[in-house]
């Protein structure tokens, strides 16, 4: 063995020494290979683990919290929902189509591993300036990859969000989230089961693709040689995954498995060691039995391969024949690769010889926990001291500029490439505040909103983190769903930079406070560090995925028609525009300190929104967030092709993004009842204006903009820029 093999595998000298201490001897190559991937940042969360312990993860309805493949919550009447979010940032920069596609494949496996049928996918994608052809290439590739995989695997993509900011130009973010549902008795955990259980490897054959993906790609920053890492990106096969989903669901339905683990990052190393560690057992793994797509693979290659669309099922010996028959029926390959043993050793055999013998739990649980230094940046006070002033620009012109920006404008160029109607449950689809799907056979609906905002979190990661949680909660409330649980995807720069760690810890504090105030647990998450290019860290970009439960489903949202009252509900907008779209996009101003959340007022706003959504016939509600109240209103007018007349509106009032506020459109005869509900909850209401049959937006006496003019800007924001093709 060469002396620096561990370094080439991304391990530090200290970690190498620690492996030696665990084993009482120097590790053999296959052992070192396993430790290198299992102890990578991506798999072990070694930089973040110490800080994640304090997050609020519990509530009476949590069935499975963080640490398993997906979080699981009880939604009543014997139904559970499984939810998970994960990043595929680095692979998507190196190879956008396959990077995004395999991200979708991976998140699906995390969810159907739990026994759930995946019913929806969401994606949160962030790129540099869309006027740069390379970013158009990345957007085109990522969207095509999500479409190519998600559509073919047969799971609808129901929403997400997109943002364009120079901070992501060398390091786009691609986060994907999946929701599944299951009957309580179908819940499966990632355990190897009792000694004697048989490990059956299902799905695709194993090849040399993606070797070291977790350690080489996901756990280091980027430089100009990024393209040379392309072979570390895996290749997806949605057809194989579709068959794997159906086969696994049949196995669960017939109760033929004791545990299941998907093969994602760290491949077989993970799928063998984690379930054994969870079961408190050992495992004999026979690499000679693994079905391969190429010959001559070495033991380290077999252990580290991240070939996609593979699952490890742990089966009672009496059921092995039936499991193989199910695999045969669904036309997927299966091989018997291991046996669960007493004790705690993971023993690996290759070419008939033992090539590794390590404590299974040492791979899964003994990764070093780093207490990285944290330092509050000096520049944060300077940023906060910068005055943020409402700029006295023309309201109409500002509105058109905002609507024409790809972070604000019409995202349908993206989501119309995704099947968002499959399964016939999509009551509210992509492009709205939250997606809403019905759970057939019940009175329930599940709402999902995903929210991130790098510019806001850069200015104040604590307030930013809290605001995302509150915004996501408001988003599910306006479609009539009560906030139930969140998953988070924490995209940050280099954790070796103490200022990045400060952003990280502040964000966690903000998320945590907001979740406690809302009474909503965090049931899972993903941490993605090393999002940097040539030493420049991205803005801290936590993404929150909120699951809401509507039970019963609210009445169908009617259409917005002329003659409806427009109400602004929630606290009055302050003059603070820090972190808002108008400040960053229109004025290029990146300073000030964003407004904080107000938990008591926020909780009242959410309750008011829920009640209006359920009790007021014909009410249409929208959360006020990116772009502020006027942008939210303009989008409604464009979609409904109707006009509006508003009372005179100050600039900050039009574009401010203070939290806990929503717009409410109600038929004139319902105004009184709506206001009564708001007042009962202690929510401030303001009558802003009314929708009209005219084809213009009229603000006060002076500002008049044609709705068609707004629509043109909004529709062209992404579609117009992408019209010349991805490379145009």
């Amino acid at each position: 063995m060469t002396t620096d093999l561990h370094r080439r595998l991304g391990m530090t000298d200290e970690e190498f020494a620690q492996v030696g201490a665990i084993l009482g001897r120097p590790p053999a190559d296959p052992e070192l290979a396993m430790y290198s991937v299992m102890w990578s940042e991506h798999c072990s969360y070694k930089s973040s683990r110490a800080f994640l312990r304090d997050l609020p993860t519990d509530a009476p309805w949590v069935v499975v919290g963080p640490g398993e493949n997906a979080g699981v919550v009880d939604i009543g009447d014997g139904w559970l929902a499984a939810i998970r979010i994960e990043s595929h940032n680095h692979p998507s920069f190196v190879e956008p189509y396959q990077g995004a596609a395999t991200g979708v494949g991976g998140i699906l496996r995390d969810v159907f591993t739990m026994g759930a049928r995946p019913i929806g996918l969401w994606n949160q994608i962030r790129f540099g300036n869309l006027d740069d052809p390379h970013n158009r290439y990345l957007l085109g590739g990522v969207v095509a990859g999500i479409a190519g995989y998600g559509n073919a695997v047969g799971v609808p993509t129901l929403g997400g969000e997109v943002e364009f900011d120079d901070t992501y130009r060398g390091n786009p973010l691609v986060n994907v989230m999946c929701l599944g549902i299951l009957r309580r008795d179908q819940l499966v955990l990632g355990t190897a089961g009792p000694p004697g259980s048989i490990a059956v490897l299902l799905g695709s054959s194993t090849g040399r693709d993606g070797i070291g993906g977790a350690s080489v790609l996901a756990s280091a920053g980027f430089d100009e040689e990024a393209a040379t890492k392309r072979p570390s990106v895996q290749v997806g096969d949605p057809y194989e995954e579709k068959k794997l989903i159906e086969a696994c669901l049949e196995l669960y339905e017939r109760d033929l498995v004791v545990g299941v683990q998907d093969l994602g990052a760290a491949g077989l190393s993970c799928a063998a060691s984690e379930p054994a560690a969870r079961a408190g057992a050992g495992l004999d793994l026979d690499l000679d039995a693994v079905h391969c797509r190429e010959t001559g693979m070495t033991a380290p290659e077999l252990l580290m391969s991240e070939s996609q669309e593979r699952m490890m099922a742990f089966v009672d010996p009496a059921h092995v024949e039936e499991v193989l028959a199910v695999a045969e029926r669904w036309e997927i390959d299966a091989s018997i690769v291991g046996t669960v043993r007493d004790g705690d050793r993971l023993r690996v055999f290759h070419d008939g010889r033992a090539v590794a013998d390590v404590p299974a739990s040492s791979l899964a649980e003994d990764a070093p926990v780093l207490h990285r230094p944290v330092r509050r940046p000096d520049w944060i006070d300077e940023l906060w001291d910068e005055p943020t002033r409402p700029v006295g620009a023309d309201i109409g012109e500002t509105l058109v500029t905002l609507l024409g920006h790809p972070s604000v404008g019409d995202p349908s160029w993206i989501y119309e490439q995704f099947d968002h109607m499959l399964f016939l449950n999509t009551v509210a689809g992509p492009g709205l505040d939250a997606s809403l799907v019905r759970v057939r056979g019940t009175s329930k609906g599940l709402a999902v909103s995903t929210d991130g905002n790098g510019a806001l979190c850069y200015l104040d990661p604590r307030r930013g983190g809290a605001r995302l949680v509150w915004e996501a909660a408001m988003n599910v409330a306006v479609v009539g769903a009560k906030p139930l649980a969140i998953v988070d995807n924490l995209n940050f720069g280099n954790p070796e930079n103490p200022e990045v760690m400060w952003q990280f810890t502040e964000t966690l504090a903000g998320l945590s406070d907001a979740c406690i105030d809302l009474g909503v647990p965090i049931v899972g998450g993903n941490v993605s560090f090393y999002n940097e290019t040539d030493g420049a860290d991205i803005h801290p970009t936590p993404v929150v995925g909120m699951l809401g439960l509507a039970d019963p489903m609210p009445p169908l949202h009617g259409a917005v028609t002329p003659g409806m009252a427009i109400l602004v509900c929630g606290p009055a907008q302050s003059t603070n525009l820090s972190g808002s779209a108008v400040q960053t996009i229109v004025h290029g101003d990146h300073g000030g300190r964003p407004s904080d959340v107000e938990p008591v007022i926020g909780a009242a706003s959410i309750e008011t929104a829920l009640r209006i959504a359920h009790e007021i016939d014909g009410a249409v509600l929208h959360d006020i967030s990116k772009g502020g109240a006027l942008v939210t209103l303009a989008e409604v007018l464009i979609r409904a092709n109707t006009g509006a007349s508003l009372s005179p509106t100050p600039y900050a009032h039009a574009f401010g993004e203070d939290p806990h506020r929503f717009l409410c459109f109600v038929p004139a005869k319902q105004i009184e009842e709506t206001i009564r509900i708001a007042v009962e909850n202690g929510t401030r209401v303001e009558l802003w204006g009314a929708t009209t049959g005219a084809s213009e937006l009229r603000i006060g006496h002076t500002n008049v903009v044609a709705v068609e003019h707004l629509a043109e800007a909004w529709r062209g924001a992404i579609a117009g820029r992408m019209a010349g093709g991805a490379n145009g």
Binding site: N151, Y415, D419, M421, L424, L556
Partner: protein
Amino acid sequence: MKVGIVVFPGTNCERDVAHALGMFGADTELVWHRETDLDEFDRIVLPGGFAHGDYLRAGAIARFSPVMRPVADAANAGVPVLGICNGFQILCEAGLLPGALIANRDLRFICRPVHVRVESTDSILTRAAKPGQVLRIPLNSYEGSYVPGDMAPTPVLRYCEPDGSVTDAANPNGSSDGVAGLANAAGNVVGLMPHPERAVEEFMVSTDGRVLLQSFLAS
């Protein structure tokens, strides 16, 4: 009456079609692609999805699945056979309908509602509709652009504007002559790209798919 819904590995709309047909009282059964006997069925549906991953070309491998022999026998015997989206592609590949479906004009997947006009009511899909009736139904395909073969197709649906006029602008995928759906000469085998099962309930984009599915069940 019993409807057989054929499921290839990679098919994904089978339960949606069963649900929608069930709304109109149909007794449906999912049939795996290795089945070789379809005698018990009075109607056959090839639903949407990605049969065999659509590898090589949409429908190119599915036409060799064992179930396609009894599907062809049934089609030739006059049994109503409906292909939706991927099912339409498979019927073309199998030679049960003329022509082929190629990649969309803009080389992007399209999932959105489109308007189609009923061109002929002389088919199992359109019998209950009115000639010229305009329907709003979701499209969901990448290879949805129809190209005719030697035989002139009998269009039953064409892409159109909301007012029913057939224009280039209303043609979402570059389909020849705006063809969205067509029938064989006997009218018992029909394929269409839009998904009628996605337009049957109040919360969906429309309920215009009902008339098509009801035609199919009533024929």
